[in-house]
Symmetry: C2
Subunit: 400 residues, 2 copies
């Protein structure tokens, strides 16, 4: 082992190695084939792939090199090759064509966003269903936090003799609530006065821990106002990250080991984990995390595709896809990208000026929108690492 005559065009060998065109083509063929069939790919298959014009023997020797460099592995001697995580990574960064959605899918998306209605929670939930439908992978939608949304309205509603509900409406349309145990009977007028008082302090500011309410003369009012103010603070801690998971049944189809399915489902159930997973990946500027690139052991056989949802320029949540490492990256990336974008537009519209979009837009309109979207996708899709990945490289075998 460690044959001395290593074939490196490049001096350094950490991570983002270069591969000559032929190796790259072979790697691409292997990945593509394996994604499709889930079977180890042999040299012969690669030789017959489009765009490759060398014999299987040559391919074999190249494969040996690719294996030595960590892009491929053999499950056992005398079997075909399987891509490693590193192999997938190279594929995603350097090889995969942007890939746009098929027309049917594009139409699905357009139709969805034309027709979806209802409040944010419902919309996000359905969006996750859409993503999962488009791709056949499990999907995750991370709701935008309300960190920056300011308080628009605040109300105290009496529910029982000693029970009241604090209802806060934020500028982005979110409604938060919290029951307050008043400990003694409080007349409605006091509730109203206290609410008005707290609103005076909080209005226009984002939800934040306990903005101290200035004391009035009235003891009862002050007490209630204090409680409400404290509850405001708890609200922000309480319900900040909401996650919507869709299509978890797809996981069962994607993995054949029932144990894998179980462990992945377990992760998906822990919303905290899902949130930090998506956050981590996004923060590192990635849109794809393959295998062990994120830190979660039980997701070692999974890949995660994430796309940000931006409303008016700044990040507000994210959409993600969770599938096997042998997922169809181009498609998944395109789907996440498009849905994330459209969702962002939609959210901006809802909170801003446009309001609920016209239902039943005619087929003509839908068509146009789909066209725009296809454009966007083909041009803008940037998938890959944040570390200045070379873009627009290579485009062999032009004709599929």
């Amino acid at each position: 082992m460690e044959k001395s005559a290593g074939r490196r065009h490049d001096g350094h060998s950490h991570g983002d190695e270069e591969l000559d065109d032929r190796k790259a083509a072979i790697l691409e063929a292997v990945v593509t084939e394996y994604i499709g069939t889930a079977q180890p790919v042999g040299s012969h298959h690669v030789a017959t792939a489009a765009g490759i014009n060398v014999s299987s023997a040559t391919i074999r020797s190249e494969m040996v090199a690719l294996e030595r460099e960590g892009f491929l592995v053999q499950p056992h001697t005398s079997a075909g090759r399987i891509p490693t995580d590193k192999g997938y990574r190279f594929f995603v960064d350097q090889l995969a064509e942007p890939g746009s959605l098929g027309p049917a899918q594009r139409q699905k998306v357009s139709r969805f966003f034309d027709q979806v209605h209802g409040e944010m929670e419902q919309m996000l939930e359905r969006t996750s269903g859409l993503l999962s439908d488009l791709t056949s992978y499990a999907s995750v939608v991370l709701a935008p936090g309300h960190e920056s949304a300011t308080v628009r309205s605040l109300q105290l509603v009496g529910l029982g003799p000693r029970l009241a509900l604090l209802v806060v409406v934020l500028a982005d349309g979110a409604v938060e609530k919290r029951t307050l145990d008043l400990a003694e009977e409080v007349p409605d007028e006091v509730l109203a006065t206290a609410a008005a008082h707290v609103l005076g302090v909080a209005q226009g500011h984002p939800l934040a821990p306990a903005p101290a309410p200035a004391p009035t003369g009235d003891h009862a009012v002050d007490r209630i106002a204090g409680m409400a103010a404290a509850a405001l603070g708890e609200l922000v801690a309480d319900e900040q990250d909401r996650v919507f998971v869709g299509g978890s049944s797809r996981l069962a189809a994607a993995f054949d080991a029932v144990e894998t399915v179980r462990s992945v489902l377990t992760i998906l159930e822990q919303q905290l984990v899902v949130v930090s997973l998506l956050r981590d990946v996004l923060e590192r500027g990635l849109s794809v995390a393959i295998g062990t690139e994120h830190g979660y052991e039980s997701l070692a056989s999974c890949a995660v595709v994430v796309a940000p949802v931006s409303v008016d320029g700044h990040h507000a949540g994210a959409v993600g896809l969770l599938g096997p490492t042998r997922m169809n990256y181009p498609e998944a990336l395109a789907a996440a990208q498009v849905v994330g974008e459209r969702l962002g537009e939609r959210l901006a519209g809802a909170a801003g000026t446009v309001g609920v979009a016209a239902h039943d837009a005619g087929p003509g309109t839908a068509q146009d929108t789909a066209q725009d979207m296809a454009q966007d996708t083909a041009e803008d899709t940037t998938h890959g690492t944040g570390r200045g990945a070379a873009r627009g490289r290579r485009r062999r075998h032009a004709g599929r």
Copy 2:
């Protein structure tokens, strides 16, 4: 086949047949063993089971009869027996001892309900996690509908120039909201007036389609009031059934065929189906639906255990468990029963007088509560059919 000398003590033979004690004991042994091991049970195993004092040969002949009558099946000749759905049904109705939770589990429940806090959605979600933890099955919590809850407060909050949010607070503490596209700019005062106007009509009544608001003089107010009233009607249709599913990863452990897992997960994702499933089962007065007893093909290998959640005497939602037909019925029934009851109490408390329970109740208190609960369970648990199932029958092998 169709041996003429059928051994029926009883004349009629539809559904709820009687079994003599020995057959019943054998059936019970088979079910118990199979639930534990998931392996076909042979006559020898049954013979060594507690409470059975006949030879394996005798058991074999009894088993033949049980098979002929449809309580057992053989996967193939020369294998042990497996209970049929009918076998499980008999077991649940006639044989299974009520079964209470173990002390550790009881404590878990008590602790949970002592500590849980936050708003209803969050509580229900966690409750479903609790149930699933207790039993290792997937759990479903059906949120109480707001059909009977009356409107307490109604507010229109301006979000943008032509956008407002209708916020309705119901007497049970639920908050419903809906964005309204106002089509033109409307000053806040008009929104407030319109809201007050609609509230005058709707307050104290349950949410219902379009309670027509009487016209005032002001055209703008009337227009907004009309929109708000219409939105009220849509609210009731929109968000009526909320379902919380927990522990779906348990399904992967319960079934070994990945295809089964997939199809069950698919069902769980369709909330409508889950809702009507639980409803159906409850309506038929059952607390258990085994195999094909409910109509859903893809759940043929599942059993569903349901317990009602009643708040102040009337039904308000339900809790359910979904597992393989070879589930541990006594335990599942007890868990669902207890959690359903406690959840009901808790909900009644939240909407009524008690308010948020004291946190950090000392171990003494928790202990007492657990005791009460155990009592309740042992005495009251009625699991079985609505068709006047004979209760308190049979109790062989007293000493376990």
